[in-house]
Symmetry: C6
């Protein structure tokens, strides 16, 4: 993994809305994969694998759910 | 994943009841899969896979449980 | 998944005791599977699979544990 | 799953110590498996599977960790 | 699983530092495996399996992360 | 696993920013794998496995997400 990749856009967990929080969760999950596999060509190839694999899509959903839980708490659930 | 898909219906985690919170959890989990695999035909095909696979159904349950935990906290457990 | 299935019995996370909370966790986990696979005959067949599979039984335990965490927090741990 | 099985010994999450809380977590995890597979002979056979399988032992550890998190919070971490 | 094995060293979640909390998380995760598979020879053999398996090493990391979350909360994050 | 490996850099969960918290989460997840498999040559070989495996990359993302949740709470979400 490379420390050179920015792992959190804008370096903040605060977002204007739940929708933007959800987008951030997706981005944060993606950036961990990018940091672990910095080769864009490999990631593109793997994308062809997981986007057609029901089990992997579900696992991506679990990851995003955990990231979003943290973001939602950071934003006090946008209340 | 496409940022063009709405990831949280009504852009809010607040629901009128636990039942509606649970429905939201299912929808949010689905929308992550939709954002990751935007092709409806592929998703329909994969649905035929996971709906007949005990392990994948259990994994979907885990994902929804995590999403629901966040929604329940956002609604102060509807107390 | 069908929105017609009731996902939370009595539409409440509040239970009289931890034991009832645990029963609710099991029911909520089951109802997500029911909403995802509405065909009772398929679910009965899959039951024959997961009830004999150590790995799947463990995964069911993980799902129930997460559901129960939310229910327990909703009930302030029945204190 | 059978509602007839007692899912939480003593119907309480409160324990005298962390050690007892950990024992309760193990028991609660086991009881979900018992409720899902009530046949003791099948459970005994599956025990021979998971007790020799590194991946399943790790998954059991994950389940117990989640159960324990709830019990620890219920006991205010025994502070 | 045997109730005779001590599941939490010193019967306490409180540690002097995050580093010691992390060590406790590893020990607690190990002790659940020990309680589930009390035969040291089998555990030693399985160690040869998971220590060479990328997927299992990642799963061990997930387990330790969950245990550590509880320990960190118990210690109020050592603040 | 060896107690000799430092499991948390600087023995602190406190970081100056979310970005640094995310880097810490990655490091903490890595260090558990290092403690479980201390042989650098084996780890390097396994890296070649998980960096090319979509499912494992997703699982790494889940682990980091859980570690980050703890770090974010410890830092009161950098608010």
């Amino acid at each position: 993994m490379s420390d050179a990749i920015q792992l959190i856009p804008n370096n903040s967990l605060i977002t204007a809305s739940p929708e933007e929080g959800r987008q951030l969760a997706i981005k944060m999950a993606r950036l961990i994969i990018k940091a672990t596999q910095p080769d864009a060509a490999v990631r593109e190839r793997l994308r062809g694998v997981y986007a057609e694999d029901a089990g992997m899509l579900i696992a991506i959903g679990q990851t995003v759910a955990v990231e979003f839980a943290t973001i939602a708490a950071a934003n006090n659930y946008w209340k």
